[in-house]
């Protein structure tokens, strides 16, 4: 098995890049533009390496590495590509952000690259301890990133909340691993799957309890109701590029691992179908209701992220365990990532010094002053709201069709209703931008990289909608 390394080339690229960036941080004379460019380069290389399906072919759709600790297949490959792309665009837009908010330093990019490597590992993990290590690698980097602006009290509050609650959930995760190990004497996914498909989930209370704790921790990370409440405060306190990064890359990684766990054996999904159903419904509507009440854009986007998690849960329920096709989930993740990153990239340069523009009303008349930015933001918002011809629409369409085909008609209908409700807060920003006179000049300083980033992502949102997915 000496060719295992080949499959992990993208992961190694990112990890080595992260270490390199950390070493570079020791030199004070290096400007952060260099670090940003370097990390963009690392992500670009990793993306291209990941794009080439080395060793994957029709004969071997699923390659198991390091004695079954990791697995590589198309699902993990594309999930990793989405995560890498999130890193790339965040690194690009962060530079515009730091031009206006003076707390950037080289470690920022190193930490972000470490986070990406953890998330990539997470998508491939096939063993609980590996999952835990990968999860903590990603989480620890993100804790640091959330509190990056040490002088800002909100940022510090956010990191503290996130850290405490994250540790709380992490505790349950380890407890879950212990229970599973106690029940089986093994922590590999393969062993869990074999046991469940032989005996059924409910024959083994310790195993079922352990898996429940593990699910709980993962649900916490992707903000499933009622474990969502941290998200609004944390997203609000984190620097804008970090919020965008968390909302997209972290969500992609966790959803990938959730899919891997939930779809281990058909019985897991069957036994918990009711529970998942109610969680999904509450997640969809709680997110919407919270979002409606918000006046701050970041808080609204945080809450709308909860709704998007709800859609992904619908997809997770709907895809059948026997022939798992992750394409619907991945498509939605990619569409969501492109639109969310786009908005955060736009906010990165439009928010101004010390994030002074953060509420809906601060963006009044943007279309009059900066028509291209307003148009790009409109594209992203329409995509998130699910209006054609955007990727977001196609993503929602695929999920709803999948739900309908697998007999989850109620979920399909609720998904549509939730989508209608979400227009409220997405269109509100469009109205603010287009139907009011500008009383602000929307001056921004310097770097063009975030606008370029927004432009590329706007094209991605439209282009992705033309890319069909086999359901």
């Amino acid at each position: 098995m000496n060719c295992d390394i080949v499959y992990l080339l993208p992961l190694f690229t990112v990890t080595i890049g992260a270490i390199l960036l950390m070493l570079l941080s020791a030199f004070e004379s290096i400007r952060i533009e260099v670090a940003s460019a370097l990390s963009v380069g690392i992500f670009a290389v990793a993306f291209i390496v990941q794009l080439v399906p080395i060793g994957l072919n029709d004969v071997l759709p699923f390659v198991s590495l390091f004695n079954g600790m990791l697995a590589v297949n198309d699902f993990t490959r594309i999930a990793s590509m989405i995560i890498i792309a999130c890193g790339l665009f965040t690194a690009m837009s962060a530079i515009s952000y730091f031009r206006q908010n003076n707390f950037g330093s080289l470690e920022f990019f190193s930490l972000m690259t470490f986070a990406v490597s953890g998330m990539m590992l997470l998508t491939m993990a096939q063993e609980l301890i590996t999952v835990f290590i990968a999860l903590e690698t990603a989480s620890l980097s993100i804790y640091a990133l959330v509190g990056y602006n040490r002088r800002n009290i909100l940022s510090s509050e956010a990191v503290l909340k996130y850290l405490i609650l994250g540790a709380f959930a992490g505790g349950f995760f380890t407890m879950g691993i212990a229970l599973v190990y106690g029940a089986l004497g093994d922590t590999g996914f393969a062993a869990i799957a074999a046991t469940i498909s032989r005996d059924g989930l409910l024959q083994n209370p310790a195993l079922a309890g352990g898996l429940l704790f593990i699910l709980f921790a993962l649900f916490f990370k992707v903000t499933v109701f009622p474990f969502h409440s941290w998200v609004v405060d944390v997203y609000d306190g984190a620097p804008i590029p970090v919020t965008g990064f968390m909302a997209t890359a972290l969500k992609t990684a966790i959803i990938a691992v959730l899919a891997n766990v939930l779809l281990l054996a058909a019985d897991i999904r069957e036994s918990w179908l009711d529970m998942l159903f109610y969680l999904t419904v509450f997640t969809l509507f709680a997110g919407n209701l919270i979002a409606i009440g918000q006046n701050s854009l970041k808080r609204m986007l945080a809450a709308s992220g909860i709704v998007h998690t709800g859609y992904l849960l619908i997809a997770l329920i709907a895809v059948s365990g026997d022939q798992f096709s992750g394409s619907v989930i991945l498509y939605y993740l990619a569409a969501y990532a492109a639109s969310t990153l786009g908005i955060f990239a736009s906010l990165s340069y439009l928010s101004g010094t010390d994030e002074k523009r953060k509420e809906f009303n601060d963006f009044r008349g943007l279309a009059k002053v900066r028509p291209y930015s307003a148009a790009a933001i409109t594209i992203f918002l329409l995509s998130m709201a699910g209006i054609p011809p955007t990727a977001g629409f196609m993503g929602k369409l695929y999920i709803i069709v999948t739900a309908y085909q697998s007999g989850q008609v109620v979920l399909a209908v609720l998904g549509i209703i939730s989508s209608i409700l979400s227009m409220w807060y997405y269109l509100r920003l469009i109205i603010a931008m287009y139907f009011h006179e500008a009383d602000d000049l929307f001056e921004t300083s310097g770097s063009r990289s975030a606008p370029v980033c927004a432009f590329i992502l706007a094209i991605c949102v439209l282009a992705l909608s033309l890319y069909p997915v086999a359901i």
Binding site: L160, K161, I164, L165, F168, A169, F172, L202, P205, A208, G209, L212, F213, F216, F220, F225, P226, F227, S229, W230, V232, D233, S271, D274, M275, A286, N288, L289, I290, A291, I292, G293, Q294, L421, W424
Partner: protein, 637 residues
């Protein structure tokens, strides 16, 4: 059976690329440093000429094939596939579309070139060429589209361009209103077209919705369905081709620049309806009753608009009504199943009407945008070339042998007589006389006599060569195009009819030579009488008449616009404002507002849960986990 050639797709694509290129260049530079107009002129004129070259190639390729297999197709991609509906973005060239292709690209090329001179110095010169190219691309999609759906794309595309170009001088509100009118009236027609298309698909569309499959499956249709489909499609044609009752938009459409009137509102777009009926001749031929409806509407339109034409003062309005009138002839032809005669008239009409409009354009150009014929006069000496070419165009329009219009119009009238529709024939002959009258009224008033406006006359001068050369070329076409379909009586062999035969479901009328001679004699007599009266009244100078009684009524086009306004527009607006002000505001919106209020309250109460304390959040999580665990323990029992 049909040959697949990939260059077919290039024909509509080229002008569209041209439009995009010119449009983007214009948009990118118009606010900064304007690029020279010459660049746009070259870019704008290249693509029509290239398409003309390709059109000739299509013609030659078709000509090289055996008569029965003369068809070229090209499928670019599958456009959409829903259930059993499979529509591909495909193109189809057969003798009929190749003929359309030839004259459309030919006149379009000339008119593009002419526009370089006519539009010189215009504020947004590039925009004009972008629109014109876009129009040509759409028109070619209409002509070449394989199947009604693709045709409809072009159909709507030309409608859009027509709207954009009518309202081109958008500083003047009346021009914008004219554009709106054209667009809205066309939408009414499109409604019929779409419905007809839907019925056709419902009946036989499942086994292929392109022309070849439709033609092959046409025999499966119930007679009632054919009648319905044909009537609905004809509703579409009355909109696009300005027939009763939807002709009202075309005279107003003259608000656009004159090259636009020549290209879109005379030579090409407005004949789309005739082309469509000929294209669906395999359906129309089964329902002679519908054909008769088509023919009568056509000939009545011809009559009514000829009456209007006799009393107009605006040179472009005269030509506009003559276009409506000639379109009426064409519908009379295709309605009586003389499809090739109708299409041949489309063909010749394109030459002489484009010529007349361009000629009128150069008169207007010379007189600095004066369009009232009673302000002109004696221009023969000032604009000799324009005069000569317009005279040729007028002779063709009036149906003077041996100019092109004579042969094509005569063929329609002959078909009416030969098929026993004497009523249609009589009206047709009457209209021919009226046509000769109003055409030469225009010629005499504009070019003969003494100048009515001395100042304008002094400054009038022949336009530059870029405008006159297209006039000369079109004049040659107007002069000789008729010979292409010379009937046997004159020793010809009806080449156009034979060329079109494989595309059309036509049964030629066999009639004696004596009938043919009667038809010709009547036409010539009508022409002679018309021109004689015109000469008597206007030949030696005349003053602007004061319209009263019937002439005033005709000058105001029988007050049809006012009638439509009272009958349709005002009630429609009243209903709209009633719904907008009362029903929508109170009945529909009330419950919606209630839900909004309720939802907002709900949302704020949910917001209260976000207290901001970590301990509370942890409690939420514990409650959630507890409920989940409880559910898990329940499922063990």
């Amino acid at each position: 059976m049909a040959q697949n050639v990939s260059y077919l797709g290039m024909i509509p694509l080229l002008p569209l690329i041209g439009a995009a290129l010119v449009g983007i260049l214009h948009l990118a530079t118009c606010k900064k440093k304007r690029l020279p107009d010459k660049l746009y002129a070259v870019l704008g004129c290249t693509t029509p000429i290239l398409t003309f070259v390709l059109a000739v190639k299509v013609f030659l390729d078709l000509n090289g094939l055996p008569v029965d297999t003369r068809a070229l197709t090209h499928e670019v991609f599958t456009w959409f596939e829903v259930g059993e509906m499979h529509v591909s973005m495909g193109f189809f060239a057969d003798p009929l579309s190749s003929l359309m292709l030839l004259f459309v690209t030919f006149t379009a090329s000339l008119i593009h070139i002419y526009s370089i001179g006519y539009m010189a110095g215009d504020e947004s010169f590039a925009k004009f060429f972008a629109y014109l190219n876009l129009f040509l691309g759409s028109m070619l999609i209409l002509v070449l589209g394989n199947g009604p759906v693709v045709m409809f794309v072009g159909w709507e595309g030309v409608g859009l361009c027509s709207y954009l170009l009518i309202s081109y001088y958008s500083e003047d509100r009346s021009n914008v209103l004219a554009g709106n009118k054209a667009f809205i009236v066309n939408r009414i027609g499109d409604f019929g077209f779409v419905l007809g298309m839907a019925f056709l698909f419902w009946a036989i569309g499942g086994s292929g919705f392109d022309y070849i499959s439709l033609k092959a499956n046409a025999h499966l249709l119930a007679p009632a369905t054919v009648t319905l489909v044909c009537l609905l499609l004809f509703v579409g044609a009355t909109g696009k081709s300005a027939q009763i009752p939807l002709y009202v938009w075309l005279p107003d459409a003259m608000a656009g620049p004159t090259p636009v009137s020549a290209l879109i509102h005379a030579a090409t777009m407005v004949t789309a309806g005739v082309y469509m009926v000929a294209r669906f001749s395999f359906l129309y031929v089964h329902v002679p009753t519908v054909g008769l409806v088509v023919a009568w509407i056509g000939i009545l339109t011809a009559l009514v608009s000829a009456i209007y034409g006799m009393f107009q003062n605006d040179i472009k309005k005269v030509l506009a009504y003559s276009t409506v009138s000639q379109l009426g002839y064409m519908f009379a032809g295709v309605g009586l199943a003389a499809y090739s005669a109708g299409i041949f008239h489309v063909f010749t009409h394109a030459f002489f009407k484009a010529l007349l409009f361009l000629g009128a354009g150069s008169v207007i150009y010379a007189l600095h945008h004066e369009q009232n014929i009673w302000k002109m006069g004696g221009l023969k000496s000032k604009l000799p070339l324009t005069y000569k070419t317009m005279l040729i165009g007028s002779l063709a329009l009036a149906g003077c042998p041996p100019f092109s219009g004579f042969f094509s119009k005569d063929e329609i009238l002959y078909s009416a007589l030969a098929s026993g529709h004497t009523g249609i024939w009589l009206v047709g002959v009457l209209v021919a006389g009226m046509t000769a009258y109003y055409t030469f009224r225009m010629i005499f008033v504009v070019f003969h006599g003494s100048p009515r406006d001395a100042h304008a006359y002094e400054h009038a001068h022949e336009p530059p060569a870029v405008m006159t050369v297209p006039l000369v070329i079109l004049a040659i076409g107007a002069l000789f195009a008729g010979f292409l379909n010379l009937p046997a009586l004159f020793g010809g062999s009806q080449q156009v009819t034979h060329w079109l035969a494989p595309s059309l479901a036509e049964h030629p009328h066999e009639a004696s030579h004596s009938t043919e001679i009667i038809a010709i004699a009547a036409s010539v007599a009508a022409f002679a009488i018309g021109i004689f009266i015109a000469y008597r009244k206007f030949g030696k100078g005349a003053v602007e008449p004061v319209y009263s009684g019937f002439s005033s009524f005709a000058y105001h086009t029988f007050r049809i616009n006012e009638l439509y306004d009272v009958l349709f527009v005002r009630p429609y607006k009243a209903i709209g404002s009633a719904i907008g002000n009362y029903i929508d505001a109170h009945i529909t919106d009330g419950p919606v507002q209630l839900i909004v209020w309720f939802y907002r309250q709900f949302g704020s109460s949910f917001k209260l849960l976000q207290v901001g304390y970590v301990r509370v959040y942890a409690i939420y999580m514990i409650i959630g986990l507890s409920v989940m665990s409880y559910l898990l323990t329940q499922s063990f029992k």
